[in-house]
């Protein structure tokens, strides 16, 4: 089972792509790229300046690593794993360069000018960027597990396949990631109310 993914008939395209079949390459990319773009949008936010670039680079890497794909999982999940890493690397780079906040979907200046119910407007538009911010603070393997589960809606078995980790390890990472996420979210100005509301 995959979230919104096609059956893995993509596997059958791999030998043809490796043999230089241009039609197979087009078909493979046409089916993969929308999924990689979705990964990129969810991890970075739809209006991040480099959403398309990350999807492009991830797809280029997938093609370059086809020889390493041994068919153990679905090709789509193999590609999603690469896209998650590419997008998370971009977020880490953003954070290191202290540029991420300027590109988030939240236009903080806009909140200063609104007149009606600023709390509601803030909650409506700022929650997802805030979740991404909190995820940035988690250790890499925990953030990866939670990105795959929370942002992308993968099951534990799928996360294990994508991350190349045992199922019990993934369960443990998710448990730890959720605990740490909650404790940070409780201190976050945007997420605090939501966490308390659900408590």
């Amino acid at each position: 089972m995959q979230p919104g993914g096609p059956d893995d008939d993509l596997k059958s395209l791999v030998p043809r792509v490796m043999a230089g079949d241009a039609g197979a390459l087009r078909s493979l990319l046409s089916q993969l790229v929308p999924h990689l773009l979705r990964v990129s949008r969810r991890v970075l936010g739809s209006d991040h300046l480099f959403v398309e670039d990350v999807a492009h680079d991830a797809a280029y890497t997938v093609i370059g690593q086809l020889a390493q794909y041994r068919g153990e999982g679905t090709l789509l999940n193999f590609a999603r794993g690469i896209a998650v890493h590419t997008a998370m690397n971009m977020r880490r780079r953003d954070r290191a360069q202290k540029r991420g906040s300027a590109r988030d979907a939240v236009d903080t200046d806009a909140f200063e000018t609104q007149t009606l119910d600023p709390e509601a407007a803030l909650a409506q538009t700022a929650v997802l960027p805030a979740v991404r911010e909190v995820l940035d603070e988690l250790p890499e393997v925990l953030a990866e597990a939670l990105v795959l589960n929370l942002l992308l809606g993968h099951t534990v078995v799928e996360i294990a396949e994508i991350a190349g980790a045992p199922i019990e390890t993934v369960r443990s990472r998710l448990r730890l990631a959720k605990d740490r996420f909650k404790s940070r979210a409780e201190r976050h100005p945007v997420l605090r109310e939501m966490v308390r509301f659900d408590s």
């Binding site: 790229v33 929308p34 773009l37 969810r42 739809s46 690593q65 236009d107 979740v131 099951t155 369960r171």
Partner: protein, 293 residues
Amino acid sequence: MTDALEDLVARARRDELTGPEQQRLDMLLDNSAEARLFHRLGRRFDGEDPAPPIADAASQAIVEALLKQLHDSRNQKRRTVPRWSWLIAAAALFVASLAGAVIGVQRLRSLPAPTPSATARSSVSPDTGRAIGRAQSSVVLPSAPSQEPATPSLSAELPLPRPASSSAAELLSAAGRARRSGQPTQALELLQTLRARYPNSPEASASEITLGKLELERGAAAAALGDFDGYLRHSPGGALTPEALWGRSQALTQLGKSAEAQQSLRELLQRFPSSPYTSAARAKLSVAVPARP
């Protein structure tokens, strides 16, 4: 299929649960505040884009750029074969020269009494030196094929294109990489090279969007606006029109022209209701003009 909470929540988000599974999930959600929190957050992310993902204009543009880039990369790989020949020939020349030098030195050593005239007469050393020099320069001068990986790798940064032989797609891609790695000057140079060398290419047209993003990133909103407007003017109905309209609204917002920015967002929503910017555009509009109860 396991009925662990994470799996039930994930499958519920895809509408895959059976009746009993849905009942079990409802019970778990009733009893766990944490489960409710993560379920609600997950649903919010799902609301950002359609499921399953659709081949929108942005993904189609990426596919076309990739196909061109991979095609050019393969052609370039084929063109490197003669360079390998050069490299092998140069290496052979180097080995032969080295062997000649060793033999010459051995012969010189075997002479009973080298005299200044003999040393002067012996052309081995200077010739060898020149030969080695030629061989070394021959090794270095051709573009080293090892710098052009046939296939990209995750860890290795993709190579920057050589100025003389880069295709438009390579230049555009290299500019994107330079921009992402925090080298805006290099990115600008690559984009200018692209536009000068391939003025009528689709990549030159797309470069207006890239330039606009670059200008936005460094806070030059007026220049960015000019780039996005340039794309809309030069490529009416182009595949990157949603990106141009979105960028235009961001530039106008930075310039303090909020009314025009909102107009651009409204045009974006009207012309491209299922673009990736839809939810963000709606959110910005709703913030800018809050709905009155």
